[in-house]
Symmetry: C2
Subunit: 131 residues, 2 copies
């Protein structure tokens, strides 16, 4: 049984989407999506996002080949965040790590900086992927 | 070995924070944090967020008792999203589900609504918790 829910896109017509590895459960990244990005994701089965800095729709892995096969898309209780459950090819992070969340905060230095420790290993060499 | 990273709070001095169950790996919720919310989280070991609608700092579970014990805080490659790894008491969602992401999108109906299916079971009765 399905029911209809509202999608609460913000004033810029964007919402955050979390990508989670469907097998390992690792949270891979957060990016923003437009209605068109969600539509492309559902239609193609490949994760699409909307770049706020470049102001354009993008397919994850379009340059690197590190696409995300989307098994399903969830929406939260407020209809204002998406969760993509994905099979990640290569690594999600442009730095070479599987997940963008490879740094753990050890201590906060005021409001704008933190001391971190790297808690993961790189899974690919970004210099070989982004030429 | 630690190193210093910049935290890229936006113009409203906020950033999204994802809460993930440290044991099950389930993504529980996404909320926003101010520098003070992150500071309170690190200092107390309990998840704090900043409510955009109420315009105030809040401690998760302050009303329901469903607090989140934060094992560690990660920050992403751009320094603009946090990941709280937590031990969740009760359920994270105010609707009674463990996770706010209890609905799977089956079909998009244009840009503003979607057909969903509920893919989880409630873990508590919200009527008994929020009186």
């Amino acid at each position: 049984m399905t029911e209809e829910v509202a999608l609460a896109f913000d004033d810029a017509d964007l919402l955050p989407a979390i990508a989670q590895d469907a097998d390992s459960g690792d949270v891979l990244m957060l990016a923003y999506v437009s209605p068109e990005a969600v539509k492309q994701t559902v239609e193609t089965g490949l994760a699409h996002y909307y770049s706020r800095s470049r102001d354009e729709l993008w397919k994850k892995g379009g340059t690197s080949g590190h696409v995300q096969h989307v098994e399903n898309v969830r929406v939260d209780c407020d209809g204002d965040t998406f969760l993509y459950l994905v099979e990640q090819e290569g690594g999600a992070c442009h730095t070479g790590y599987e997940s963008c969340f490879y740094r753990q905060i050890e201590e906060l230095n005021g409001d704008e900086t933190a001391e971190i420790e790297v808690v993961a290993e790189k899974v690919y060499d970004p210099d070989e992927v982004y030429e």
